[in-house]
């Protein structure tokens, strides 16, 4: 039965589509045609994985978890793919954003990527998607590392394809820091394997409590913390992120901003609450003592730095660092409700930030630049794009009736429930800083009557193509929908964390 293999197909479909895209230029003579076909393959593969993840989410909500034995080898000896509520939730986000990105991508990619590289680009994108989905789907610690490397290596390539020369340094920076992070995670996995002789996550979970006195276990925990924090871009290990997001091709920023750091956060949840239990993580290793202060600093510093950016893509990249701070702040509260709020913000922020960077892509395709000065008068010339940016910006601030408000609400409740007044003040204070940087753009777009309209190039700016506007407004609609209807976004996160926490 096909349905039994859904879980593995989730990863295999994009994995097999990737070489297909890469081989296309050899097979078909007409370049234009092969580029279009590559786009079609990538889109269809993303959509298929989205459909699969929906089916999986339905299955999971019925049965609790699904397990798949790769090659018929029973775990813990063979590799197991295993998804529960947590994985199903993240799979939905990753494959959903991938689909939206691909639906919108075609025109933007044709403009930004050299024609002979386009089909290779799609191939790299599919590999990156494979890696991200694989991390979430697998139930094997070493497998997580393998998929992490697949996704990282392909995202270095994707970022380097940006048409600004700075993209190369940005990618290099990410390569160095990402590799250190992955290596640390690998060392952690190695230590665990040395101690327990197993790599299966469920098996590890049962064996770890006996080893709490072991120094090696402590070392493994430390390596995990640093490694994951690097991939997560938790301040002060965030340095790779702003440049990588700012100079990557527009559509790649959309995809990575909404998925890459989110999957790293998934790894954090999986390792620290799945492998080590929350009692160990907070009670023995006091992760919250590191996470909370760093998250507070991340929110305040990154938001403040964002205010002073003139490159708007870079500005929103810094905003991402701050928003990641919100998620880790939720976890750092060391309560169940805090982690649920962090998880919920992961979901809501993926939608909002994906949408914001998609609006950036719309602006780049028409005006070639995301410098602030370029936004003057855009409210009139690209009304639909700017209206979408305004609504998503309000979501980022956390105005009622947007998804952002729901996550802020739960974060605040979690913080005040712990009597953590500092955390509460930072949550609302961060929103104030968000108002400043979001409104800087809005004010420029709507109130600055562009003085350089004489410049024929900018004056003739048209609205972005429909093919990009529709996915953009889908995300806007989602960000508002999840501001009203939280039974899925909150309910699923709640079940996931409840299953994870003791």
């Amino acid at each position: 039965m096909l349905s039994q293999h859904l879980l593995v197909l989730q990863v295999v479909v994009p994995l097999l589509s990737a070489p297909l895209c890469a081989l296309l230029p050899l097979a078909s003579p007409g370049k234009y045609f092969s580029n279009k076909l590559a786009w079609l393959i990538a889109t269809v593969a993303s959509l298929i994985s989205f459909v699969i993840s929906i089916l999986l989410a339905i299955e999971v909500s019925k049965h609790g978890y699904i397990s798949y034995e790769l090659g018929g080898w029973t775990p813990p000896w063979g590799i197991e793919y295993r998804i529960d509520h947590l994985s199903a939730y993240v799979l939905l986000i990753v494959s959903g954003i991938a689909s939206i990105t691909m639906l919108a991508a075609q025109k933007s990619i044709e403009k930004e990527i050299a024609h002979e590289k386009i089909s290779l680009f799609y191939s790299a994108f599919l590999l990156c998607l494979t890696g991200l989905l694989g991390i979430v789907a697998t139930g094997d610690a070493f497998n997580i590392f393998v998929f992490l490397e697949i996704s990282s290596l392909s995202s270095y390539v994707l970022i380097a394809l940006g048409n600004n020369r700075k993209a190369l340094t940005a990618s290099y920076q990410y390569l160095i820091m990402g590799t250190i992070g992955a290596t640390f995670i690998l060392i952690g996995v190695g230590l665990l394997y040395m101690l327990t002789g197993t790599l299966n996550l469920v098996d590890l979970q049962q064996k770890i409590p006996e080893l709490l006195d072991s120094r090696a276990l402590h070392a493994a925990f430390a390596f995990f913390t640093v490694g994951i924090s690097l991939k997560l871009a938790l301040l002060p290990l965030h340095l790779w992120l702003p440049n990588a997001y700012a100079y990557a091709p527009s559509m790649i920023t959309v995809f990575l901003s909404a998925t890459a750091t989110k999957v790293s956060l998934y790894v954090l949840f999986r390792f620290f609450f799945g492998l080590f239990s929350n009692e160990v993580t907070f009670g023995e290793f006091h992760l919250d003592k590191i996470l909370l202060p760093l998250s507070i600093l991340a929110i305040l510093i990154a938001s403040a730095v964002a205010i002073f950016q003139d490159n708007i893509k870079r500005m929103f990249a810094y905003s991402s660092v701050a928003q990641i701070g919100y998620m880790t702040l939720g976890i750092g509260l060391a309560t169940k409700s805090g982690s649920v709020a962090g998880m919920l913000h992961l979901f809501n922020h993926a939608i909002i930030k994906g949408g914001i960077f998609l609006a950036m892509a719309c602006i780049v395709i028409r005006t070639n630049s995301v410098q602030l000065s370029n936004f003057a008068g855009l409210g009139k010339r690209m009304p639909w794009t700017m209206a979408a940016l305004l609504l998503l910006g309000l979501g980022l601030i956390g105005v009622p009736f947007t998804a952002g408000f729901i996550s802020k609400w739960y974060l605040l409740i979690a913080a005040l429930d712990q009597r953590s007044w500092l955390a509460a003040a930072v949550i609302v204070g961060g929103s104030l800083l968000a108002i400043i940087y979001v409104w800087k753009v809005i004010e420029y777009a709507y109130l600055k009557t562009s003085s350089k309209t004489i410049d024929s190039d900018t004056a003739s700016t048209k609205e972005a193509p429909l093919q990009m506007l529709i996915p953009l407004w889908l995300l806007v609609a989602a960000s508002i929908y999840f501001g009203f209807e939280t039974s899925f976004s909150f309910g699923f996160a709640n079940t996931a964390i409840n299953a994870l926490f003791k």
């Binding site: 009622p400 605040l412 929103s431 108002i435 409104w439 009557t449 009203f484």
Partner: protein, 488 residues
């Protein structure tokens, strides 16, 4: 029809209908304004249907997002009064806007009418909100909908003004208001507005002081110092917008929320028992006096009126903070009386600008002969705000003073007296200047013809001035109407 009349929440939807019509007729100014006006009338008539209806006290929940987060509307005397006030003054302001916007040939008039209607919709949401979350949602919506109105002129001044406006209002609401709501939720387990309050002994003395202070500063629209700067900053807007801010919607939404939270979240008795409002009381007294003194120093007509509003709003906050039913009732009445007085004053300032393009008080010498109707209306409204009979402003002051005597707070009494004197000092000279000083320009002084602003400007301001006079004699119905909310 009968079933429609049960749904008071439709009053949020009716102004949205105006939005659609305005969009539809965006290229036909007359139709656009006619539809704006007729929907305003419809809204007012619709809200009047609920006076004395059996719907009082009924709650309609639209939907519930999660426990605590639900959108629900209810109808109670205070809210209905606010809705009537806002919808009634919307009619007057629309007529005035037609005269003002055409007279001054303002640009982007469609956008102006559109966001005006949206602001009214948000105001209706505030008036009928059945819980703190609903109130907060529409409170924020009102801030955002009025932003394009404040920055209407789109020049550098408008931008700075807009920044201060949005920064302070959104800032205080997110920083303090939202925090206070979440604390309330955690302490009381409910966010509904219930007569007598929801805490039921679940909050300590210190907690109550902190929470009440958070609420009062969180409601930046009530313009307590030091968060009052947005109100003078918003003076860059066209005058009908100032009327909307000062009389119809924005600041009134602020003090309405203050009263609503005092009465329905804390409960007057709880406030009194726990002495929760003492700090706010001092801050409000200080705001009242300091703002009056600043008003004295302003030569810009609208800026002086703006500081006068800051001062008058504190009357209402004091009414709530005295934690006495009569004082709170006086505060609620002051929402109405101040609205009629202040809208007249702003209409006058706008009429002067439309007719003569003058904005400074020192330029008004002798203008009374040229614009007799405008300045007569000004004088009447000013006296009402000062609080002298036979104008309606005297009643709300009466009840406020009565309330302060009830709790034996003579400092508040003294402050009211002082403030009244200051009111005289900054409001009356304007009228005196206009009527009795000789015009600056001698030649023009020889041969003065009556040259008022367009009729559409003059009629509304005469009407509201007349209302301050007529309402003096009909205070009993207003009292009877409001009393159930405050007096058990």
């Amino acid at each position: 029809m009968q079933s429609l009349l049960q749904h008071f929440e439709l009053s949020v939807a009716i102004p949205l209908l105006a939005v659609l019509l305005i969009l539809l007729f965006r290229n036909q100014p007359s139709l656009r304004e006619a539809s704006s006006l007729s929907i305003a009338l419809v809204l007012f008539i619709f809200t009047t249907q609920f006076i004395g209806s059996e719907q009082l006290g009924v709650t309609h929940t639209l939907f519930s997002i999660t426990p605590g987060l639900s959108l629900a509307f209810h109808i109670e005397p205070l809210g209905l009064m606010f809705a009537l006030l806002a919808s009634g003054l919307w009619i007057v302001t629309t007529i005035y806007s037609i005269g003002y916007m055409r007279g001054n040939k303002e640009k982007n008039q469609t956008r102006f009418y559109l966001f005006f209607a949206l602001s009214i919709a948000a105001t209706m949401g505030i008036a009928f909100a059945a819980n703190l979350v609903t109130l907060f949602v529409f409170y924020e919506a009102l801030t955002l909908c009025t932003f394009p109105l404040v920055t209407h002129k789109q020049n550098a001044d408008a931008k700075t003004g807009g920044r201060i406006y949005l920064g302070i209002l959104l800032g205080t609401s997110i920083l303090f208001f939202l925090t206070a709501i979440v604390v309330t939720w955690l302490q009381a387990g409910s966010l509904d507005f219930i007569p007598g309050g929801i805490f039921d002994g679940k909050i300590g003395k210190t907690g109550a002081v902190i929470l009440f202070t958070l609420f009062m500063f969180g409601i930046g629209k009530a313009a307590l110092m030091p968060f009052h700067r947005w109100l003078p900053a918003a003076m860059v807007a066209p005058t009908p917008v100032s009327a909307l801010l000062h009389a119809v919607a924005v600041v009134k939404a602020g003090v309405f929320s203050v009263l609503k939270i005092s009465v329905y979240i804390f409960g007057i008795d709880v406030l009194a028992d726990q002495n929760a409002a003492q700090w706010i009381l001092w801050i409000a007294i200080a705001t009242m006096l300091v703002a009056s003194i600043i008003a004295l120093s302003k030569d810009n007509f609208k800026a002086r009126l703006a500081y006068s509003t800051v001062s008058q709003l504190s009357y209402i906050v004091i009414g709530a903070a005295l934690a006495n039913p009569i004082a709170a009732l006086g505060g609620a009445m002051h929402i109405v009386t101040h609205a009629f007085g202040k809208i007249t004053l702003f209409f006058c300032a706008g009429a002067v600008y439309t007719a003569t393009k003058r904005t400074q008080i020192s330029q008004l010498n002798g203008l009374g002969k040229q614009m007799p109707f405008t300045f007569s209306a000004y004088l009447i409204a000013a006296i009402s705000i000062i609080g002298l009979p036979p104008l309606v402003g005297s009643w709300s002051k009466w009840f406020l003073i009565d309330g302060s005597l009830n709790v034996d707070n003579y400092i508040v009494l003294l402050a009211f007296v002082l403030s009244t004197l200051l009111n005289c000092a900054y409001l009356l000279p304007i009228a005196l200047r206009a009527f009795f000083k000789a015009p600056d320009n001698e030649e023009a002084g020889q041969n003065i013809k009556i040259q008022e602003a367009p009729l559409a400007c003059v009629i509304p301001l005469c009407f509201t001035a007349l209302a301050t006079f007529l309402m003096f004699f009909y205070i009993q119905p207003i009292y009877d109407f409001l009393a159930p909310a405050f007096l058990p």
